[in-house]
Structure formats: structure tokens, C-alpha cells
Amino acid sequence: MFILSVETWQITLFSLAVGLASTLVILPLGILAAWFFARKEWPLKSVVETFVLLPLVMPPVSTGLILLKIFGRRSPVGRWLYDRGIEIVFNWKGVLVAMAVMSFPLLVRAARASFSEVNPRLEQVAATLGASPVRIFFVITIPLALRGIVAGALLAFSRALGEFGATILLAGNIPGKTQTLSLAIFNFVQLGKDREAYILLGITVVLAFVSVWSSEWLLRSQKRA
């Protein structure tokens, strides 16, 4: 097998697992939001769209601070969750929340563009044949937009793997518990352990390359199709 330490495996698998979980969590909501943005009009729609996209451009640390304010024990939301035995701050759930919020816009953007490219006439035809809107959505719209949705999900997954600023604020940097690849790289650099940092950096580059490349490939093949 590879000459990677147990710690390196643990960090890599943890990042992949939470990154995957985060992507699965945002998928239904992201698809729904993207479809609404692509197909529906309502007052102040552009404001809502902009809000959804904000985490993409805001400094991740400030998003992290907002999340910490929301989920900290001192806030009503954090308190409410805490009283029910759910704590987001300083454990893997914090990592998941940070990843999900930060990667959500990428999924929505790609899926939205993909929905816009689906010819509405196909949906209309299905409607005249008596299909229900829900059936049309799942049988016509989603399959036709699938490449874009998967491409967006892959991009969101890559973003989740690279997440740093919001994660360190919300989930802390706890080795073996909340330490992701990005946090571990930061920690090793701080400690002058460049060799360890380079190993994790290599892993990150490979993972990011594969998922971004697949995402791009899907988008390009969709355009050709």
C-alpha cells in the first residue's frame, strides 16, 4: 500500500467523508433552488439569488464568524439545539455545516445554468400527455439537466474539500475529530513541518484535480450533446 501514515489516512478519509456528506445534504435543496431560479419569477428574485451566491465571494472567515454567532451556545438557535443535545460547534457537524454553506452556491450556479438549457417545450409536451408536474420534473427536467447538476455537485465537493476559513472558526482544528486536509496543512505549515504539509498538499491536488476535471468534462460534453 502507500507509505502514508495512519494519521494521513484518517485526515484524508475524514475530509472525503464529510465532503461527501455535505454534498449529499445540499443536493436536494440546491436542485430545488436552482430550478426555482431558472424557471420562476417573483419580486426581489435577484436579491434572493445574490444572497445565495454571497458565500462564494465573502471572506470565508466572515462567513465562519456568522455561522459561529448563529450556532454558538450564546445564540437562540445554538441554545435551542444545545438543549436538544445537538452541538454544531467544535465537532464534525460544524465541519459539515461550514462545507455545506460554502459550497452551496457552486452547486446552485451550475444546476441553474443546466435547467435553463432544458427546452421547456419538452415539459409542455409531457404536460399535454397528462404527466403531473412532479412527474415531469423527475422524468424530463432532471434527466436532461443531470450532467450540469452532477458537474455542480462535483465542483461543490471540491470546494468543500478546500474549505478552511469557516471551518476553523466553527469546528475548530481538533486533530482526529475536526481536522480536515486544509486545516492539517495549515497546522503543519505553522509548525514548520513542511514535509507533512507537502504530502497532504499532494493528496489535495490529486483529489481537487480529479473532481474539477470531471466536472469540466461533464459540462463540456453537455454543451456538445
Binding site: 454558538g72 472558526l169 497546522n187
Partner: protein, 258 residues
Amino acid sequence: MSGPKLHKPSLCLFTILIFLGRAPMAANADELLVSAAASLTDALKEIGVAFQSKSKNKVTFTFGPSSTLARQIEEGAPADIFFSADLLQIDTLDKNGRLEPGSRKNLLSNQLVIIVPAESKLAITSPKDLLKPEVKKIALAEPTSVPVGVYSSKYLEGEGLWGKVKEKVVPVLDVRATLASVESGNVEAGFVYKTDAAISKKVKVAFEVPIEKGPKIVYPVAIVKESKKKEAARDFMNFVLGPAAKDSFKKFGFVIID
């Protein structure tokens, strides 16, 4: 390639389950979370292992900049102990009533040193040598906000040199960035803590600021008031103040405050 097939999705799920299902080890045994300044990482990891071999309690750490850690505790993050790299952060928390009264100890100190690239032939035997024309640039962590930068500029002020040295100063992000710029040879000298100088082989210590002349650098530690594991936290505090932990701190270059 032999060995476990790591691509299986089941393994991802398995990993998630491991993190979900961390059951408590035994009754009465607590798992403590210590928020600690990043510069303490190596020493505390060693101390953590030693602590767990002696105590029924377990300890985990979250490492980061002291300011971030203080912020998290302020928002009610579930840390049991705060180990800061400077007094300002812990003072603020103390004032806001976030720390267990009477639990605070000023445990460690550090020493300022002047570093030069490992292959440098510069002779710096006193801070006055920084005025030599061969020293063109000096790296220093941001001298208004980052503790090590503040300490260094204060020290030079005390020596009556800051006015002249200031022109050569390149303010950088933090200690790590100071090390990196000295390592690269882009600056002739830099100010860091002794413990930081020890982690790089590409720099050497040219001058150690005598402890009595240098500014008072303090690493305080305290129990967080909201901790649900006070007894275990006291257990760990006692261990950290004990002889075994002190040896570890010394090994990594820290100075013990008695």
C-alpha cells in the same frame, strides 16, 4: 496493490459512523477539549499522551491563533480549558466572566531571539548590530497587532534603537512568515520566539534577548467557566502544572514561570 479497498463508499459511511458514534469510554471518564495556541502544538501533544497514561480522563486539543480561540469561547464553544499565547485575549475573556474564577495561571514564558539564515556570516552580538549597513531588511510580525511584533518593537524601543531600525523593518503576517522570509534569505534578520527558531533548520539564532531585558511574554492557562467537566479540567490543569509537563515544555524551548 494489496490491502483494504479504500474506494468503497461503505468505507466513507463507516468513517462517518466512527465519528458519529464515539461512545464515552467508561463512567466518570471525561473527554476534555483544550483550546490552545498553535505554538504549543508539539509540547501539548506530548503532554496529552502522558496525561492519558496517568489519568482516566482523555484530552483533545483544538489549535489556532489565540484571538480566534478566544472568540470561539466568547460565543460559547464547548472548550474546557483555554491556553493562550498572550495576556490580552485571556484578560478580555476574564473580564466578560467566561473563565472559572481563580483557575487562571501564568504558566509559560518565551524568549525573543534574533535569527539569521543558517548560512549567514553576519555577526550579530547585540541588537546594535542591526544598524550595520549589511543588514538591509529585518522581518518582524506586524508590530502593532501581533504579539511577537509588539514585543520586539517594545524591546528595540527600550534599547533606543527602534527609530533607526524601523526603516529596515518588513512587517509580515506572523512568526511563521518571519521564519519563511529569513529562511529564503530575502531578509538578513528577523525576530521570533526561541521555540519557533527551534523548528527550522534553515535559520540560526544569532542573538538571544536576555530574559530580564526583554518584554514579559506570558502564556496563561485557565478553565472555562461553562465547562461541564470541571473536575477533569482541574485534573488536567494539575498535570500541566506538574513536573512531567514542565519538562516537556522546557524540551520545546519554553521558559517556566514560577
